[in-house]
Amino acid sequence: MNRREFLEAGGGILFAGVSCAYAGHLLTSYATKTTGEDSPAFGKKMGMVIDVNKCRKGCTECLKACKAENNIAQPGDSRWDVHWIRKVTLKDKNNTNVPEKPVVLLCNHCDKPPCAQVCPVQATFKRPDGIVIVDYHRCIGCRYCVIACPYNARYFNFKEAEVWSNKGYPRRTHGVAEACNLCAHRLEIGDVPACVVACQNIGAGAITVGDMNDPESDISKLIANNSTKRIRMDLGTEPKVHYIGL
């Protein structure tokens, strides 16, 4: 080996070493990637029961509570307003004697969510406990999910909320899609969603949220003891929001 060869080989080895050091650094940082294996969410199946008979006509307490809790954008224009939960009135077109029913509609947290199936970046996904949630860090704002959702539950953020009404929870910036996440941040700390609290505060108690896999929970008993309906079961999305008296 002559001097030139020695220098060239040495330079090559040095560069390879430096590259390996950098690659090792990258690898170790990715080795700490999350698995979520000890998450309390595994084994749960969160669902909601809405008793339509208890729901009061003209009451919008749950809507207001939801907007305040989740910093929902309300620019005041119907084109841009976001509704995680909204209220409609059901009428029977053929029989006018049937009284009108107020019904709250929200994300149905489907077992087979079409919004998650179409999401090209897996920003919308089903969590281990069955909540369909959006990872706003990943969302690219393509709005496929808004089109895919058969329940019109998903909204796109054309404008962001100007203030944080709840400083403990983030708002969403312009350019991400969103829907009800069953107040996952409240469920995780053992609390109940804001709409449930609001409905209990006015004494109606029409909304119940809980773990449907637990046979002792309130929601399991409600489903077992009442005849419940789910919206658009023909689509095969298997929603987890049950309605009593619909």
Partner: protein, 132 residues
């Protein structure tokens, strides 16, 4: 391989030299943050937190260079798995998140922005998360 290189004309050799000249500073810039942990320059930008709080979740060196890795890990656990109690300090599981940074580091401008601006980084945390 190296013997073959000698057969090439001078032009190829000059190109190889230029490539090396480019690669050496690049390699240096990559290696530097791995080994040079106590850079006195960063002292200028960082706000000292409230003295009543004695320590952060990890040591200063780790927080300076890898705080984003920790934040990413917490984000993934919380958003994708709903797991809020995470092992951040050694052996202890705690519910610590981005909101808890502002307990000690009260000013975003002095704590985050000054250093990020100096290194020309603009993470978009505060578009959604609240930090005064």
């Amino acid at each position: 391989m190296f013997k073959k290189l000698q057969q090439y004309d001078k032009g190829t050799r000059y190109v190889a030299l230029v490539v090396l000249v480019i690669l050496i500073p690049l390699a240096y810039s990559i290696v530097k943050p791995i080994f040079a942990h106590n850079d006195p320059i960063t002292e200028v930008f960082l706000e000292k937190p409230d003295p009543s709080h004695t320590s952060c979740v990890r040591d200063t060196t780790y927080m300076r260079l890898h705080h984003w890795e920790l934040l990413t890990k917490i984000r993934e656990e919380v958003v994708r798995y709903g797991n809020r109690t995470i092992e951040i300090r050694d052996g202890k599981k705690e519910a610590i998140g981005l909101n808890d940074c502002r307990n000690c580091h009260t000013s975003r401008e002095r704590f985050c922005d000054r250093c990020h601006n100096a290194v020309n980084l603009y993470p978009e945390c505060w578009g959604c998360h609240y930090y005064p």
